[in-house]
């Protein structure tokens, strides 16, 4: 009988103590947001800048200056395994076979590997990060090292990335890679450091034919909005619903 009473007492004491502790912590959280338990996510004002990219395949001549400028501007390793930005050459033969090539990302130029008389159709397609607004790469980052800036650009926090490579696996467009020295994820940053200073991304400036259009999707009279209005544009892999903001004019069905 006595033992039961003693047990009841210790149990009640325990619950009392636990209750006071929990209540105290909750109260403290209300008084002063205690970072360790929860942080309030600021939705942020809707930015009036929302960047996208336009590429006019009909104008691309495959000179590779965009890929080259990107590597220079962003100190990307020059080995042919790391590209933030590259150009592909599609050659469709008369028999229907599709050959795709991107020697060193197009930086050293292109040659056709089959004779001209066998070629049915051929064209160049520049590729880069699509800066998706429903980005699968941002969704799968386990620690929050890749994120979408208020302007709609997907960036990587090199100080925080743990190098797990999940984002590289999740990108359907092959835009990401792991920097061989820094061991963190790396990709096209839309030359964020230039754009914030009012400059164009390096690849846009380097293009000799004006095949690359950079702009604010929310500026309805701006170059990108005009480009989208005048041309029938497509995104890559629309069935994956990534919210890609890289719009191609003249995209052929063979381009994946």
């Amino acid at each position: 009988m006595e033992l039961e009473y003693k047990n009841k007492k210790t149990r009640r004491d325990f619950f009392k103590a636990a209750g006071i502790f929990t209540g105290g912590v909750l109260f403290a959280t209300l008084l002063k947001p205690y970072k360790s338990l929860a942080y309030k996510l600021h939705e942020g004002e809707t930015s009036n800048v929302w960047y996208g990219i336009g590429i006019d395949i009909e104008k691309c001549i495959g000179c590779g200056r965009c890929a080259n400028a990107c590597k220079n501007e962003n100190d990307v390793p020059r080995e042919p395994f790391y590209f933030r930005n590259w150009v592909e050459q599609y050659t469709i033969k008369n028999d229907g076979e599709v050959i795709v090539e991107s020697p060193n990302g197009g930086i050293d130029g292109f040659t056709q590997s089959i004779p001209d008389e066998d070629i049915y159709k051929s064209f160049f397609v520049p590729k880069l990060c699509n800066h998706c607004y429903k980005s699968p790469c941002e969704q799968v980052c386990p620690v929050g090292a890749t994120y979408r800036s208020p302007e709609g650009i997907i960036l990587v926090d090199e100080e925080y990335c743990i190098g797990c490579r999940y984002c590289v696996q999740a990108c359907p467009y092959g835009c990401r890679f792991i920097h061989p020295k820094k061991k963190v994820a790396s990709k096209c940053t839309y030359c964020y450091h230039r754009v914030k200073k009012g400059l164009n991304p390096a690849c846009m400036d380097a293009c000799p034919t004006g095949a690359r259009i950079f702009g604010n999707l929310r500026d309805k009279s701006g170059p990108l909005a005009e480009f989208l209005k005048e041309h029938n544009c497509h995104v890559l892999k629309p069935h994956l619903n990534t919210g890609s903001k890289l719009y191609y004019n003249g995209l052929n069905m063979e381009v994946k």
Partner: protein
């Protein structure tokens, strides 16, 4: 500079068709094959233990504690392949302090800790508590303090206290079953939710991973049971082995059916990625998938175990068959993980070509590193069996 990238230049020369330039090197290598394999073994071994504890399959009593200790040994090793493959292993704690909950990988830290502490360690503690208290009084020297610390200051081993141990252990096992499903199911989800990769993206991926995990865990316990009895020079309990084999057979059937269904569905629908994937399966994966995983790892064990359901040969024949089957299944499920992880990265997301994979011997993701992480859990298990020998436990009258 060229030296570091030598293997990449070689891989570049071996590209078949077209790949995106960044896809030349496989991002996830043998260590990421190992991680699902090890957590699968943990989940599987635990399910076998729970069959005895919760579903009262009495024939499995001889392997109950061994299953738990095996699960613990492998659980303690499970994080190591993950952390050692990271670009910045020192930053792994970020997963615990700022987990990005939209990412399946972020759950890892908490599910792992939950399962390790609240399920495995607790269940073992409740099961061994009586013995730990006794050993803390009997042993001398350092061991005495080790066991004393483990008692957490509770030395009551009266019949009521032991009854509480039983009850609480039972509750923990019950919680442990869905926890085991979560522990390995989320790994399957990590792959199954990647819409960019058609070889991985599948609703059935978590389920397939789970059932193949159970198969591998059961095979592991069978193998460990053989090994322990061999080293202790004891006779195996044939009823126990027959029961383990029976469960192995049933779950292997389910696993095979699920995987076959996945492939049949893929072949029938033949959507966009079908051509490149059929080239993958009939080409680069023909040995690891066709022969190692399917033929040796699934068909042969199914035939052998299935035969025993109809016709039961002598004990010695069954014993040797079980031993060989357990090894075949363990190897087969390892290759299943290989085919998923490595296979999914061999073809380009452009669906126009393949890259190649070369497993190096040394290096952060080399074969030697993988062998270390396979051997370490067995060493831990050996240490656990020395510290907590199941055959020295005091028998409890039911």
């Amino acid at each position: 500079m060229i030296q570091e990238h030598q293997h990449l230049y070689e891989a570049l020369s071996k590209v078949d068709g077209y790949i995106f330039p960044n896809e030349i090197e496989l991002n996830w290598s043998i260590l990421i094959v190992l991680y699902p394999y090890i957590t699968g073994l943990v989940a599987g071994a635990f399910i076998l233990a729970s069959l005895e504890r919760v579903f009262n399959v009495k024939a499995l009593k001889p392997i109950y504690v061994i299953s738990l200790l095996t699960a613990l040994a492998f659980m303690l090793t499970a994080t190591m392949p993950l952390i050692s493959h990271l670009g910045h292993p020192g930053r792994f704690y970020e997963l615990m302090i700022t987990p990005h909950f939209s990412s399946a990988m972020a759950i890892f830290g908490f599910v792992y800790l939950w399962y390790l502490m609240v399920v495995l360690l607790l269940e073992l503690w409740f099961d061994y508590r009586k013995d730990i208290v006794i050993w803390s009084k009997e042993k001398k020297g350092l061991l005495k303090y080790f066991y004393k610390a483990l008692t957490l200051g509770v030395t009551d081993i009266s019949p009521e206290a032991v009854k509480w141990d039983e009850k609480l252990g039972y509750i923990v096992t019950v919680i442990g079953i869905p926890s085991a499903f979560l522990l390995h199911g989320y790994v399957g989800f990590i792959f199954g939710s990647v819409k960019a990769n058609p070889w991985w993206s599948s609703v059935s991926m978590p389920v397939i991973f789970l059932f193949s995990a159970m198969v591998s865990g059961i095979a592991l316990v069978m193998f460990v049971y053989f090994a322990i009895n061999y080293f202790r020079k004891k006779v195996v309990d044939m009823l126990c082995l027959d029961t383990i084999a029976k469960y192995l057979f049933y779950i292997l059937i389910i696993d095979f059916t699920l995987e076959a269904l996945d492939q049949i569905h893929r072949i029938y629908e033949a959507e966009e990625s079908f051509e490149i994937i059929s080239m993958l399966v009939s080409g680069k994966l023909i040995f690891t998938l066709g022969i190692m995983q399917v033929l040796l790892g699934t068909i042969v064990p199914l035939l052998a175990l299935g035969l025993f359901q109809l016709y039961k040969p002598k004990d010695i024949v069954r014993k040797w068959t079980y031993f060989i089957v357990s090894i075949l299944v363990l190897i087969g499920i390892f290759f299943m993980r290989w085919n998923v992880v490595i296979g999914g990265q061999l073809f380009s997301k452009s669906f126009y070509g393949f890259t190649s994979f070369k497993l190096s011997l040394i290096g952060q993701e080399g074969l030697l590193m993988a062998i270390v992480w396979i051997i370490v859990p067995f060493l831990i298990l050996w240490a656990l069996l020395l510290l907590f020998p199941p055959w020295k436990k005091v028998e409890v009258e039911d």
